[in-house]
């Protein structure tokens, strides 16, 4: 049994169907990536998994339990953390407060320890711990967003476009972080436009086009696929 199963999911914004029947699986310990162009339905998929959107039909199972009827704020408690597209840090709160909010569902004094762990992972954040998050650079905000997601001690970490709009050095740092998380056994569902980097890292990849899965397979294999190379890696 997979940790996360998505079965024949359909999601619509008003009259427009954004996802037209997607199925996918994420197994414990895997890194699974969704790639595709803008509007393919990647972000919508993540937002539906975390309960911000309600599917028209289909189901989502987490550890075999139905997830698509659970409220968004309950889903976090079940062990799914979502670092949203565009980072969406809380701009008027300090870095430290942002991290503490990441652990909102948890109680106890291990929170302080985990904040420390995030600072260990991202020393830049430690320097800016008392600064308003809105004043951080894009890369720093992304670190904060990932760190904040980690604060809920998730079993499944969903990252939406973590490299978007960042400098090459930052992008490298972010992917290194993801690789590191993978090596510690964290299960990750990664949405990326940077297909080569994502596929290189992923155990399994799904290619989405206009709301459907058009191709799936182990990341390394997709990386070699001719169609994928043409469409997403910008090669002729």
């Amino acid at each position: 049994m997979s940790m996360l199963e998505v079965r024949d999911l359909r999601v619509a914004y008003g009259a427009i169907e954004a996802i037209k029947g997607i199925s996918l699986d994420v197994d414990e310990g895997q890194v699974v990536t969704l790639i595709g162009t803008n509007g393919a339905g990647k972000t919508t998929t993540l937002r539906t998994v975390s309960g911000l959107l309600r599917p028209v039909s289909g189901e989502i199972l987490f550890d075999g339990q139905r997830l698509d009827t659970v409220k968004a704020h309950e889903i976090v408690k079940q062990g799914i953390a979502h670092s949203p597209e565009g980072r969406r840090i809380f701009p008027l709160m300090t870095v430290e407060e942002n991290l503490e909010l990441g652990a909102y569902t948890r109680k106890g004094d291990s929170i302080a320890k985990d904040v420390g762990a995030v600072f260990d992972r991202f020393p830049r954040l430690l320097e800016r711990r008392a600064q308003k998050a809105g004043t951080l650079s894009g890369g720093e905000q992304q670190m904060l967003a990932i760190g904040r997601a980690l604060m809920s001690s998730p079993r499944l970490l969903m990252l939406d476009e973590p490299s978007m709009g960042l400098s090459p050095i930052m992008i490298q740092l972010i992917f290194e972080t993801i690789a590191e998380l993978k090596s510690t056994g964290t299960t990750i569902l990664l949405v990326e436009q940077n297909a080569s980097a994502a596929l290189a890292l992923a155990d399994v990849g799904y290619v989405l086009e206009t709301g459907r899965v058009v191709l799936s397979g182990p990341g390394k294999e997709l990386l070699k696929d001719e169609n994928v190379r043409k469409a997403y890696l910008g090669e002729d």
């Binding site: 975390s50 704020h73 309950e74 008027l92 709160m93 503490e100 909010l101 909102y104």
Partner: protein
């Protein structure tokens, strides 16, 4: 100079009421971007709840301090109940509705609550409010500037209320969640925050502070009436905008600013534009000037426009 100082005190007292009520506007606005025009009525209900507690529930001869505490509780129960019902049955069904629909709902709720009290309390004319704090007891602030006991009480409870709220929002877990919801409700939900509950919390806290203000106003003036919420509501909303709506310190600052402007306009505005008849006009002129130069209010965050 003496007159000026006395007027300053008068302005601070007036501003304290505006500030307390403005907090309710600003919290609800900050979180759901709803101008809850019926919040003034919540303040009015707080006053009536306290009066009801005193005249109907309390036995004669209850010690003053105990009576005051119980009246405050009674007022809060009424205010909070009304706010909860209002949120649940009038506003919540309208989430996702066109932006202006809740504004009309708020207007309807406001009219409804005023008329409800007027017809069924019944209070077709102002109701006398027990004078538990002697208004003729004056505290001297030096140089024959004075403040009467109930007025001092108004300022003291207002300041306590404001500081308590501010601390709550800044320090407590729920307060943090309120801030988060105000800044980005979707992401707040991703953190595990039940935003519906946060919205309810904002209504409840606003109502509690309004009840404090309603009681203070009853003690200060010795009357409560069903229309008292409307004017105060408009002023408090103005204060919230003046300070930067959505900003808690802004609401407080806005309240005091507005109160002082009104009082000073009464005394010092150039003739013939001075006096009570013009003071509200001056208050709005100051509001417009402030907004022309600081479009987000005195303490409003300049939030970068995002598409």
């Amino acid at each position: 100079m003496q007159t000026f100082l006395q007027q300053l005190v008068n302005g601070v007292v007036l501003g304290a009421t505006y500030g307390l009520v403005a907090l309710g506007y600003t919290m609800v606005y900050g979180i759901v971007q709803l101008i809850n025009f019926a919040h003034g009525e919540i303040y009015m209900l707080g006053g009536f709840g306290a009066l009801f507690t005193y005249t109907v529930l309390l036995p004669g001869g209850t010690p003053v301090v105990l009576a005051l505490v119980l009246m405050l509780l009674g007022g809060m129960v009424v205010s909070i109940t009304a706010a909860l019902l209002m949120e649940r049955f009038a506003y919540r069904p309208l989430r996702g509705a066109p932006r202006l629909a809740p504004l009309i709902t708020a207007l309807g709720v406001s009219i409804f609550l005023q008329e409800l009290v007027r017809n069924f309390y019944p209070a077709k004319s102002p109701r006398p409010f027990p004078q538990l704090v002697d208004p003729s007891h004056q505290f001297s602030l030096g140089a024959s500037v004075e403040i009467s006991a109930p007025r001092l009480l108004t300022v003291v409870v207002a300041v306590i209320g404001m500081v308590a709220l501010s601390t709550f929002v800044r320090r407590s877990r729920t307060g943090r969640a309120m801030q988060a919801t105000a800044q980005d409700p979707d992401t707040a939900r991703l953190m595990g925050i039940d935003t519906d509950r946060i919205i309810v919390t904002a209504f409840v806290l606003g109502a509690a502070l309004a009840a404090v203000s309603g009681l203070a106003s009853g003690l200060q003036f010795g009357t409560v009436d069903p229309r008292m919420g409307f004017l105060t509501g408009v002023k408090a909303f103005t204060a919230a905008v003046l300070g930067g709506i959505g900003n808690i310190s802004g609401a407080v600052l806005g309240g005091f600013t507005l109160g002082i402007v009104e009082v000073m306009a009464t005394q010092y505005a150039p003739d013939p534009f001075s006096g009570g008849a013009w003071k509200d006009a001056w208050a709005f002129v100051v509001l417009i000037l402030v907004l022309v130069f600081r479009p987000s209010g005195l303490l409003g965050e300049r939030v970068a426009a995002r598409a």
